[in-house]
């Protein structure tokens, strides 16, 4: 475990997973999968605005929005994944709880190995864990791209 200072809401998630023994970690992940918010209607009508995370074993789409008007805008994240893909939904939900609302600079500073810090690597296959890393990578890329577009604009 590194000593990088993580945002509180991320650190708390890691502690939540750390606190439960291994067999119960799956149950916790399941609870996260259930709490993933529905997509707002504006995305439901425009699924083409979402980016597919093709690294996931099940269909998962995400969208990233930056708040208006500040130097370091807040980041809002939206996910869409089918109910029959609970593991993928669980990963998305962890990232949503951890990252949604954080300032862009903080999101960009999240270490890339964050997905490995929830103690899930032994109970979920490596191929699936890569899906979560890919979600994080794509979120960061979108934040960077949108910030660059604003600067250019």
């Amino acid at each position: 475990m590194t000593t990088d200072a993580l945002p509180n809401q991320v650190q708390e998630l890691i502690e939540d997973f750390d606190a439960v023994p291994e067999p119960d970690k799956l149950q916790l992940l399941l609870e996260f999968s259930r709490s993933l918010p529905e997509l707002p209607a504006r995305y439901g009508e425009h699924p083409e605005d979402l980016e597919q995370v093709v690294e996931c074993q099940s269909p998962l789409f995400l969208a990233v929005e930056l708040e208006e008007g500040t130097q370091d805008p807040g980041v809002n994240i939206f996910f869409s994944a089918p109910a029959e893909a609970p593991t993928t939904r669980g990963f998305a939900s962890i990232l949503y709880e951890g990252l949604d609302g954080l300032p862009a600079s903080t999101v960009l500073d999240i270490p890339d190995d964050l997905p490995e810090r929830f103690g899930l690597t032994k109970i979920v296959s490596p191929l699936r864990m890569r899906g979560m890393s890919a979600m994080l990578g794509r979120i960061k890329r979108q934040v960077r791209d949108q910030q660059a577009a604003r600067t250019a604009g």
């Binding site: 690294e55 074993q57 029959e84 609970p86 593991t87 109970i123 979920v124 191929l127 899906g131 890919a134």
Partner: protein
């Protein structure tokens, strides 16, 4: 004693139709003495979201693999698993799972390595059960632990190793039943799935490609028998090389019968689990790319 096989015309084209049951058969027989229904999914959380009443979960990732040897569990571990799941040696096991029985077929194959006599697949898997509007429950299944005997795993019948394949290159037909893109080397995993890492996209020559056999076909889900076949091929023979008997290799056997030993009744059907993945990483193991079958180079054996 194992329960009687389902007498179902839909399965009659298989050499071993007794290895399949329909969703209706499961609805009628789940919970009866001597029958244990097992769910084994690619998404390891799916069972918890709702499962066939009375079924138990087997997690392909944590229950069937031994992390230190990086192999299947051994006889003692398997006995412990089966006892914990309430399965007796003479029970009839019916396995089902998500993604067209992908990992259900895998579990069935592992159970067969331990010589569990009566293991069957539920035709159509979890998706078919759900599509038919059949009952799912989140209630925990009450399990009475059993005393499953310790049986050593027998890898000599339905499993082949890299050495076996190398030794038989050019003399024993190998069949690649992955997707066309994996066969040619274009991809390292089937379409619509992420690529496998650290793996050259290659296959091992020489390969026989029977029409409709060398690659799993996409079959409409409504097709009663074949809806599970692709996945069976995938985890039973797929991502693997199946070594077929000369009889089967003459292509006189209808493709669907050849695909999945032991369902298919091959005279011999050693299988190399995930052979192709490992070939992709191995040095001094010949491969062929592109659509041509390829020849074994001199000195490859």
């Amino acid at each position: 004693m194992p329960v009687e096989a389902e007498n179902n015309q839909d399965f009659s084209q298989y050499a071993h139709p007794e290895r399949l049951v329909s969703t209706q058969w499961v609805a009628d027989n789940a919970g009866k003495p001597g029958v244990v229904v097992v769910e084994s999914d690619e998404d390891v959380l799916l069972y918890e979201t709702g499962h066939i009443p009375g079924s138990v979960k087997v997690d392909w990732h944590t229950d069937l693999n031994e992390p230190d040897t990086r192999d299947y569990v051994n006889g003692e571990q398997f006995a412990e698993l089966m006892s914990r799941k309430g399965i007796s040696r003479d029970d009839t096991i019916v396995v089902y799972g998500d993604k067209s029985n992908w990992w259900a077929a895998y579990a069935l194959w592992v159970f067969t390595l331990f010589g569990h006599e009566d293991v069957r697949l539920m035709n159509g898997g979890r998706d078919k059960w759900v599509a038919e509007g059949r009952e799912l429950t989140t209630d925990a299944t009450e399990v009475t632990p059993t005393d499953y005997p310790v049986v050593e795993r027998d890898d000599s019948v339905i499993r082949a190793y890299r050495e076996d394949v190398l030794e038989n290159l050019g003399t024993t037909p190998l069949i690649d039943v992955r997707s066309p893109q994996e066969y040619t080397g274009e991809r390292t995993h089937m379409p619509d799935y992420p690529q496998e890492a650290h793996c050259a996209a290659v296959t091992s020559p020489p390969r026989h490609r029977f029409p409709g056999l060398a690659q799993p076909r996409r079959i409409p889900p409504s097709s009663p028998v074949t809806s599970w076949t692709r996945s069976t091929a995938r985890k039973w023979a797929c991502q693997t090389v199946t070594t077929l008997s000369p009889t089967a290799a003459s292509a006189s056997v209808p493709p669907t019968r050849v695909r999945a030993h032991p369902l298919a009744g091959l005279r011999q059907g050693p299988q190399l689990r995930r052979f192709l993945d490992r070939v992709g990483n191995a040095v001094r193991v010949p491969v062929a790319q592109g659509e041509a079958r390829g020849e074994a180079p001199e000195g490859a054996r």
